[in-house]
């Protein structure tokens, strides 16, 4: 960038204005400004729904129905949140959701790391074919296995338990195995070899070297699986019919039925359910970004 020189032909015949824009430096400045304005306007557009959700959640019902609608509530009715929380068993839903999410995250982090280590660092026969098989399972539309899985789980009497939502995450997921394997590939093999020389087993190396060195990638898996479990609607919808077992997503769907068009309460409920995800996003942003970088093949 430093080597960039004014590329304009030095002929002095060109008018001053034209010269101004043809000068690379000034053109660049102008482009950057336009770019910045476009991005700023775009981010307002992107953020406006979130603001609308907050604003609606604080309005009175009369204000929600008022025409034309306003972008700011006349009074901030924080008690809407209290009312919402009390209108449905949200405490119970939260405990249920936290339980499932916790188990899914623990399973995903440990098991996928274990499997990915095997695929990345241990030579064995048929490894490439098996890894191709892992990747190809990502192409299978979920419903093809969802229906027969339901048949299996209902025969095991697992309907109305958390088993169908939790147990599968202890058997690895193709996407996470892929992600973690990418990360393991960046760990030099010499490190593993040296430990092997000293008589360490792969299990020991995985626990003492692999796990600590892949911490950032494990954080990515933890966050992605947290989001997946927290936001899961299909699984609970299919397997949970008992209201005492409902998760926040199912609870919100039931709440929608109860509230019909009371958008202030509905938005308050939605915001409360989304809040943990938003907070985690702002705290652990770099791990989200890293997960994406792993996918795109840049470390």
């Amino acid at each position: 960038m430093k080597g960039r020189k004014n590329k304009v032909n030095p002929s002095n015949k060109v008018k001053h204005r034209k010269k101004y824009f043809e000068s690379t430096k000034n053109r660049k400045k102008l482009l950057t400004t336009i770019n910045f304005i476009l991005l700023a306007m775009g981010s307002l557009l992107i953020l406006s729904p979130v603001w609308w959700m907050i604003s609606t959640s604080l309005k009175t019902m009369a204000e929600v129905m008022a025409y034309p609608p306003t972008f700011f509530p006349s009074k901030w009715n924080w008690q809407n949140y209290v009312r919402t929380w009390e209108a449905a068993p949200f405490n119970l839903y939260t405990i249920n959701t936290v339980t499932i999410t916790f188990l899914v995250v623990v399973g995903s982090v440990i098991v996928n790391s274990f499997i990915a280590y095997g695929f990345a660092k241990i030579p064995f026969k048929g490894k490439n074919i098996l890894f191709a098989l892992v990747l190809s399972t990502m192409m299978i539309p979920g419903f093809v296995t969802l229906i027969p899985q339901y048949v299996l789980f209902s025969h095991l009497q697992w309907v109305n338990t958390y088993y169908p939502l939790v147990i599968p995450s202890f058997f690895g997921s193709a996407f996470f195995i892929f992600l973690l394997r990418q990360f393991y590939m960046t760990i030099p093999n010499e490190l593993i070899e040296a430990a092997k020389m000293e008589g360490a087993s792969h299990f020991y190396i995985w626990r003492k070297i692999g796990m600590p060195l892949t911490k950032p990638a494990l954080a990515t898996v933890a966050i992605f699986s947290f989001n997946g479990a927290w936001n899961d609607f299909l699984g609970p919808l299919l397997y949970l019919n008992n209201e005492n077992l409902y998760t926040l997503q199912l609870g919100l769907q039931v709440f929608k039925g109860q509230m019909s068009t009371q958008w202030n309460y509905l938005m308050a409920g939605s915001l409360l359910v989304l809040l943990p995800v938003i907070v985690l996003f702002f705290i652990f942003q770099k791990y989200f970004i890293q997960g994406i970088n792993l996918q795109s093949g840049n470390k």
């Binding site: 991005l39 700023a40 027969p148 509905l266 939605s270 989304l274 702002f282």
Partner: protein
């Protein structure tokens, strides 16, 4: 003295199998087994309780020749995929191109644009139902500022699918990050060389940036096609009681399959449906893989 049972290499190999064992078991129990069962049951009138009689190709025959809703759901799904995939891909590439310039506040913008991508589930669907309310929602309010009287969105069968596509576009930041990461990986020296030759920024974008990110474009298109065909939750939550209305305009393939499998328990029929979708997705994916060498540029490969 006694011959070792295993050589060191074999021992290590054994450890390898132990490491991948959880996946292997999961694959057999949760994927391969169910796939086999589903394939077999798709030729039966299975209904989850007792009945399971072989009916040959009847399910497939009925689907293709005698089930109007099957074709409706297929049409709705193709409509959604055909618009949402190109629009989100294009949107994500343009957005990441804007962010990839040396623009002040890039990290801040990146965060803002990515935020909607992590929001999902019922809360987001409820939000969009409110945003798209014809009278009191934000979208039509903003449209009215510029003199457009907005449509009835989720109440108008012609506008339900565009509503969902609009919602998808809001979370375009997810794949934007993917493109941005790959654009930042493009070697600076390529741009410097092009600049020496006097190539404009636009030319640099078309002739350097785009070819260098084609592997990611390819990955994004393949995965969003597979994902697009599986649209379900949005339609389930946003179409009233999950009926796919109004006038079946949100009856997507998976929603119809859901109703067959878990509401009327025509499991054999639903599984036949799932195999037809599988075949469609498979053909499209294979087509993509076959076409890839024509336009996807991999580094280290000379053309």
């Amino acid at each position: 003295m006694s011959k070792k049972l295993f050589t060191n290499k074999q021992k290590e190999g054994l450890q390898g199998y132990i490491f991948i064992l959880p996946w292997l078991v999961g694959f057999v129990v949760f994927t391969a087994g169910p796939l086999l069962f589903s394939f077999g049951a798709s030729f039966s009138d299975y209904n989850v309780t007792s009945q399971m009689d072989f009916v040959g190709l009847d399910n497939y025959k009925t689907l293709l020749t005698d089930d109007q809703l099957f074709w409706t759901s297929l049409y709705n799904t193709f409509y959604f995929v055909l618009f949402s995939v190109p629009l989100t891909t294009l949107g994500a590439i343009l957005l990441s191109a804007l962010l990839n310039q040396d623009v002040p506040g890039m990290r801040f913008f990146r965060t803002i644009y990515y935020l909607p991508a992590i929001l999902s589930g019922v809360g987001v669907y409820l939000l969009w139902m409110q945003l798209l309310e014809p009278g009191t929602g934000m979208v039509n309010t903003v449209l009215s500022w510029v003199g457009i009287s907005g449509p009835n969105w989720l109440y108008d069968p012609n506008w339900t699918k565009p509503s969902l596509i609009l919602m998808k576009l809001w979370s375009v930041g997810g794949s934007m990050l993917l493109y941005l990461a790959s654009m930042q990986g493009v070697s600076k020296s390529l741009y410097e060389a092009a600049e020496m030759d006097g190539a404009s920024r636009w030319k640099q974008f078309i002739h350097i940036t785009i070819p260098m990110i084609t592997p990611v474009i390819f990955f994004d298109i393949v995965t969003s096609l597979i994902g697009g065909f599986q649209i379900f939750q949005e339609a389930y939550v946003m179409s009233g009681n999950g009926d796919g209305g109004p006038v079946n305009s949100m009856l997507f393939y998976n929603l119809y399959m859901w109703k067959k499998a878990f509401e009327t328990f025509d499991m054999g029929y639903a599984m036949a449906m799932s195999w037809i979708l599988f075949i469609i997705v498979f053909i499209i994916t294979i087509f993509n893989l076959k076409m890839a060498p024509r336009w996807v540029h991999y580094e280290g490969e000379e053309k």
